[in-house]
Amino acid sequence: MAQTTETQRLLTTSKAISEAIAQEMERDPGVFVMGEDIGIYGGIFGATEGLLAEFGPDRIMDTPISETAFIGAAVGAALQGMRPIAELMFVDFFGVCMDQIYNHMAKIHYESGGNLDVPVVLTTAIGGGYSDGAQHSQTLHGLFAHLPGMKVVLPSTPYDAKGLMISAIRDDNPVLYMFHKGVMGLGWMTPNPRATGHVPPEPYAIPIGEADIKRPGSDVTIATVSLMVHRALDAAEALAADGIEAEVLDLRSLVPLDRAAIAESVRRTHRLLVVDEDYRSFGMSGEVMATAIEECFDYLDGPPARLAYPDVPIPYSRPMEQFCLPNADTIAAAARQLVTG
C-alpha cells in the first residue's frame, strides 16, 4: 500500500469518500452528485458530507424519492458527457430501479457497439449487523457482479475508499461503488477502529481490479471484501496467537475480479477460505473457489472452504442475525479447520 506522506492524517471511510468526490469535482466540472438526502443531510451514511456547502445545490442535488428517474437521469446525463454520481441509499432499494441499472446503465455501451460510454458512479450502502431487518441489511454484491457491464467496487479501508472513488469517477464505465455501513466510521454505528485510517490529503487513484493483501501469511488465504476484511483481520490476529499465519486478501472489486491475485496467494498458502457477507449460493464465495480450482488446483492441499451468509432473508432479532453473520471467531475456526484438518 503506497503511502505518500510521512504524517498520519486519520480519516473515517465516509470522510475519505467525500474528500475524493470533492477533489474530483474541483478537477472536473462534469462531476455532480444526485441522490436522496445527499445534500443538507450529507448522505445518510456520510458519503457526501460537506459537499453541499462547498459546491452548492446545482452540483449536489437532493432528489425526490424517485430512484428510477434519477438513476435513469444519471445514465442520460452520462451519455451527454457528464460524470454523474448517483446514490442509491440502500442497495436493498434496487428493486424499484433495477431496470435503469442493469438494462440501461450496464448495457448501453455494449448495445451501442462500443460507440457510447456511460460513466456513472452508482454509490450504495450495503450490509447488516445492526438489526435493520430483511430490506435494509443485504450486501448483494454477488447479484450485481453477476450482471455484465458494470464494475463492482467494495472498499474496506479509508485509504482504499478514497483511491477507488477517484478511479471510479475517472472510469469511462459504469461503476457500482458499494460501501458497507460498518466500514464508514459512523458515530452511530458499533465502533470500528478499522474504519479510521491514514488517508493522504492529495488525490490519488487505486486501479480498479487489483486485490490487496491486507495481512500477509503463509498458512491459509482468507479472501473476502468490505467489512469482512475487518473481521478476517481480527481472526488472523487470533490465529497468529495459535501459530497460524493467515493471509487476508482484500479483493476490493468483484468486477473485475483479480483472479491472478487469488491464484498467486493460494499457490503460496495452499489453502483457501472465502468469507462473504452476501448470500452463500450462486455468489462471490463460489466464484472465488471456482477460480482457485480452475487456476491452481494442484497447489491446493484440500478443498477450498467458505463461510457465507446462509441462504435466508436477513432476520431482525439480534441473536438470529448475529448467528447468520460470519464473525472473527467463526472465521478463525474455519481457517483453523482448514490448516489443522
Binding site: 455532480f32 446545482d58 432528489t63 425526490p64 424517485s66 428510477t68 428517474a69 434519477f70 438513476i71 435513469g72 437521469a73 444519471a74 445514465v75 442520460g76 446525463a77 452520462a78 451519455l79 451527454q80 458527457g81 457528464m82 454523474p84 424499484v96 431496470d99 435503469q100 438494462n103 440501461h104 448501453i108 455501451h109 455494449y110 448495445e111 451501442s112 457497439g113 462500443g114 460507440n115 457510447l116 460510454d117 455484465p148 457491464g149 464494475k151 469511462d172 464505465n173
Partner: protein, 327 residues
C-alpha cells in the same frame, strides 16, 4: 401554418419511414413461412413496425437538431429516420451486420447513434428517464439543446413516466415528452388499461403544459411540438404532448391480432395519415401532378440502396460478441 417547404418535408419524412418499414416487413418474413419461426430469415427476432405513427415522428423531429437528444421505444424506426439516422447503417444494424450502427450488438429495438444523439429502450417507459438526464446535462452545459422522449400510451401507466415528469418539472428541464397513443398496449385496448381518456391531462399533475393532438395530423403535431420545443429551448421547462395516432400493423410482425376485427383494421387503413395528408397537400396546391409519386420513388430508391448495403454487408466476427462490455 407551416411553409410549403416544411409541408413537403413532413410528407417526405413520413413516406421514407413507410417505405423503409414496408421493405423491412417483407425482408422480415423471408424464411419465416409457411411456419412462422421468429429466429429464421435475414431479420430474426421481434419486429415492431410503426406504420401509421409517422406523423408523430415527422412532426416532432422537424424541430430538432442532430445535437438534440432523442429517446424512442421498441418501435423506433420512424423516429430514428425522422431525426436523421443514417439509413444504410440503421438497416445494417437491423440485419445484424458488422456495418450496422452498433456492429450488430443492438438490433432493431436498441438503436444507438452518437451522430444524431439517439437512443432507444426495449423496456416500456424506461427510455423516459434517460431523456430527462440528457435535458439535465443540457441545462448544466448551457446552450439551448433539448431532449425529446417518445413513448406509447402503455408507458404512461409505468412509474418511470410519472417519476420522470415530476423530476423534469421540479428541475425545470428542457425536455419534451411525446406520447404516441396508438390505442393499444400490445393486445389490451387503452380503455382497458388507462383510467383517463387523455394522457395529456396527466401533465396537470406535474404543473406542466399538456397538449392533445387528436387526429394523427402531422401539421397538428408539428405545431404543438414547435411550441413545446421552443419553450424548452428558451428555458421554459418541460411539456407533454399526446398524439392520438394509429398502429396499422400488429404489435409485432406475426401478431395474429385476434384482439381487433378486420373491419377495424380496414377502417384504420382508410384513414391512413399519409394518404390523407397527400390529399390535403393536393387540395391546397402544395403538391400536384406527379409530385407525390416522385417522393415515393425517391424513397424507394433510398431504401433499396440502404437494404442492399445491409444485405451485402458481412456479419460480425462471432467472437466479437465478447468485445465492448467495457470501454
Amino acid at each position: 401554418m407551416p411553409t410549403n417547404d416544411v409541408l413537403r418535408d413532413l410528407h417526405h419524412q413520413m413516406v421514407r419511414a413507410r417505405v423503409f418499414e414496408e421493405t423491412i416487413q417483407k425482408a422480415y418474413m423471408e424464411g419465416k413461412t409457411p411456419a412462422f419461426d421468429i429466429a429464421a430469415g435475414p431479420v430474426p427476432g421481434e419486429m415492431h413496425l410503426a406504420a401509421g405513427q409517422e406523423p408523430v415522428a415527422a412532426g416532432v423531429c422537424a424541430h430538432l437538431r442532430p445535437t438534440d437528444a432523442v429517446t424512442a421505444t421498441h418501435r423506433p424506426h420512424h423516429v430514428a429516420l425522422a431525426h436523421g439516422m443514417d439509413m444504410p447503417r440503421m438497416a445494417a444494424e437491423i440485419f445484424g451486420k458488422q456495418t450496422g450502427l452498433c456492429h450488430g450488438k443492438g438490433g432493431h429495438m436498441h438503436l444507438f447513434d452518437a451522430e444524431t444523439n439517439f437512443g432507444c429502450s426495449g423496456i416500456i417507459g424506461e427510455g423516459i428517464p434517460t431523456a430527462v438526464g440528457a435535458a439535465l446535462a443540457f441545462k448544466k452545459q448551457g446552450g439551448d439543446r433539448v431532449a425529446v422522449s417518445f413513448f406509447g400510451d402503455g408507458a404512461a401507466n409505468q412509474g418511470s413516466f410519472h417519476e420522470s415528469l415530476n423530476l423534469a418539472a421540479l428541475w425545470d428541464l428542457p425536455v419534451v415528452f411525446v406520447c404516441e397513443d396508438n390505442a393499444w398496449a400490445i393486445s389490451v385496448a387503452k380503455d382497458k388499461s388507462t383510467a383517463i381518456a387523455n394522457n395529456s391531462d396527466r401533465a396537470v399533475a406535474y404543473g406542466i403544459p399538456g397538449v392533445l393532438v387528436s387526429d394523427n395530423d402531422v401539421v397538428g403535431v408539428y405545431e404543438a411540438a414547435g411550441e413545446a420545443v421552443d419553450r424548452a429551448r428558451r428555458g421554459g421547462g418541460p411539456s407533454l404532448i399526446e398524439v392520438k395516432t394509429d398502429r396499422l400493423l400488429g404489435h409485432f410482425e406475426g401478431d395474429p391480432q385476434l384482439y381487433r376485427t378486420a373491419e377495424e383494421m380496414e377502417a384504420l387503413r382508410e384513414r391512413d395519415a399519409i394518404t390523407r395528408f397527400e390529399a390535403q397537400l393536393a387540395a391546397n396546391g402544395v403538391m400536384g401532378g406527379d409530385d407525390a409519386q416522385a417522393v415515393w420513388a425517391a424513397a424507394r430508391a433510398e431504401v433499396d440502396a440502404a437494404i442492399d448495403f445491409a444485405v451485402s454487408s458481412p456479419y460480425p466476427d462471432p467472437a466479437s460478441a465478447l468485445d465492448h462490455v467495457f470501454a
